[in-house]
Symmetry: C2
Subunit: 293 residues, 2 copies
């Protein structure tokens, strides 16, 4: 019997089609509808540039509630009418807002928010990255977000990855209101983790910011106001007419599909990849987000 | 006596000027001339775009000697006359060369170079990063370059960081000749380490590539040839007239200045940084390189 079993196995193996080694994209494309979570429309901030380009930001109220509430009040109060992108520093950030204007805050804005640079880890579900993180005792994903954390000291923060959106501020104890925002357009500046309030990430159109000309002044500020990139409007998707409202979904970081995706991001073995790394850094995982039809 | 000593110390403390907490830039600016190493002119590749922008690349013959020799032969044989940047993929790479042309190789080009994806660690001096690396057992710096390595298995590779230049290739066993090159313009794609030959890094003008419009075809290829960005010339600095030849130097990664710089990159404590990270990832260190007067 034993011999036969072996023979059968060999026959089965020989008959099997060659295993297709899946790419991360294959895994994302095969994820069932249940693995995707819609981003609520009142957490979707739509910034239209005057040139016609659109930048869409997902807000993260679970991590920086007062700053996110401010950003919603600023959008509804049309604070960013006449705003510009006035700073683009290569391999770092693109920054926008009213720059040094004295434009008053709309109703509902907290002028001095608390330092929402991190939050308690307790209360967050999380999927562990599984590779060491140079910046924190632990790293992983929670509710679709890349996070760094300490289980022992009970803190967690949104990581500064490519596309992350944070709140410009002056020196401490100032934490910024949210009127001046930046998006990361280069290698993850993780040294900013727990030093600045991260309020979300660009989920569509980051290339509209990353391909802008770099500013030539210190810190990438544009030298002449003529170089400023005008912003036409900043609106919450929930405040837009239903027919115009864009909608996005992210791959649930607690789903089996994401676990498979994460494993392959750390172990590329398809076609081109002759040698899987056996690890991946937090910001190189890139949680999949896509526009809903 | 004891009491007096304490009193003296207090007095001294009170009288001392406030300690200035150094930024990484402060440390670089204070580095003595002996801490800087000139990049040999025959390892400096100068690519001028037809639009007027210049991109300068430092070549790394210690890591990919056959590919680097190819690149020198390609430059001297004017292989890149009429070449273009034809692929710009956001948060990944800008790629240039002759694309799918059948232009013949100039004299001296090895058509099928060996897989110079890594080299023996033995023979390289190295400065240890001191933070964990998700992609390799060890990480650090050698001769001004960010490297990942295994002491046990005796390999080392140039890491794919922002600005790194690698050799486009087809599927293995093809390794590319060096005719098609790319530069990293986003978060470090370290999954490419030991999978592709890295031949150098952009030391000046990376923003000329990173701010280009993104290609809209798969993998960031430009859709129309009209979008291709023409390259005027690619020359070795050593082949340029002395008066026109640009010269660069890097902070010696074995110098005490670099050790101080590295420490502060992992522990920002100046002004803005209320909470030092206590770690830094290899590609976020950014070995200082500057143009010589």
């Amino acid at each position: 019997m034993k011999k036969l079993l072996i023979a059968s196995l060999i026959a089965l193996t020989a008959a099997a089609p060659p295993t297709k080694l899946l790419t991360p994209t294959d895994i994302v494309n095969a994820a069932p509808p249940s693995a995707w979570k819609t981003i609520p429309a009142d957490n979707v901030l739509v910034m239209d540039l005057a040139s016609g380009g659109r930048v869409v930001i997902q807000l993260a109220p679970a991590f920086a509630p007062v700053h996110v509430a401010n950003i919603k009040a600023l959008a509804r109060g049309r604070y960013w009418d006449g705003a510009t992108v006035y700073r683009v520093q290569d391999n770092y950030v693109a920054q926008w807002g009213q720059n040094e204007s004295d434009k008053p805050w709309p109703a509902g804005v907290t002028a001095k928010p608390p330092a929402e640079y991190s939050r308690p880890l307790k209360g967050l579900s999380s999927t562990v990255l599984g590779s060491p993180d140079p910046y924190a005792p632990g790293a992983g994903f929670s509710g679709g977000w890349p996070i760094a954390y300490s289980a022992k000291a009970n803190w967690a923060n949104l990581a500064h990855c490519y596309g992350s959106v944070g709140v410009g501020r002056d020196l401490s104890p100032d934490t910024g209101t949210g009127g001046e925002l930046y998006a990361v357009i280069g290698h993850a500046p993780r040294q900013l983790d727990r030093v600045i309030a991260v309020v979300g990430r660009v989920v569509d159109g980051i290339d509209r910011l990353s391909s802008l000309p770099r500013g030539t002044e210190a810190l990438g500020f544009y030298k002449d106001k003529a170089q400023y990139v005008p912003i036409a409007s900043v609106r919450l998707a929930s405040d837009m007419p239903a027919a115009e409202r864009p909608s996005y979904e992210y791959l649930d970081t607690a789903s089996p599909s994401f676990a498979r995706y994460l494993k392959v991001r750390a172990n590329r073995h398809d076609d081109f990849y002759i040698r899987p790394a056996g690890g991946v850094d937090l910001c190189n995982v890139q949680v999949p987000v896509r526009k809903k039809a």
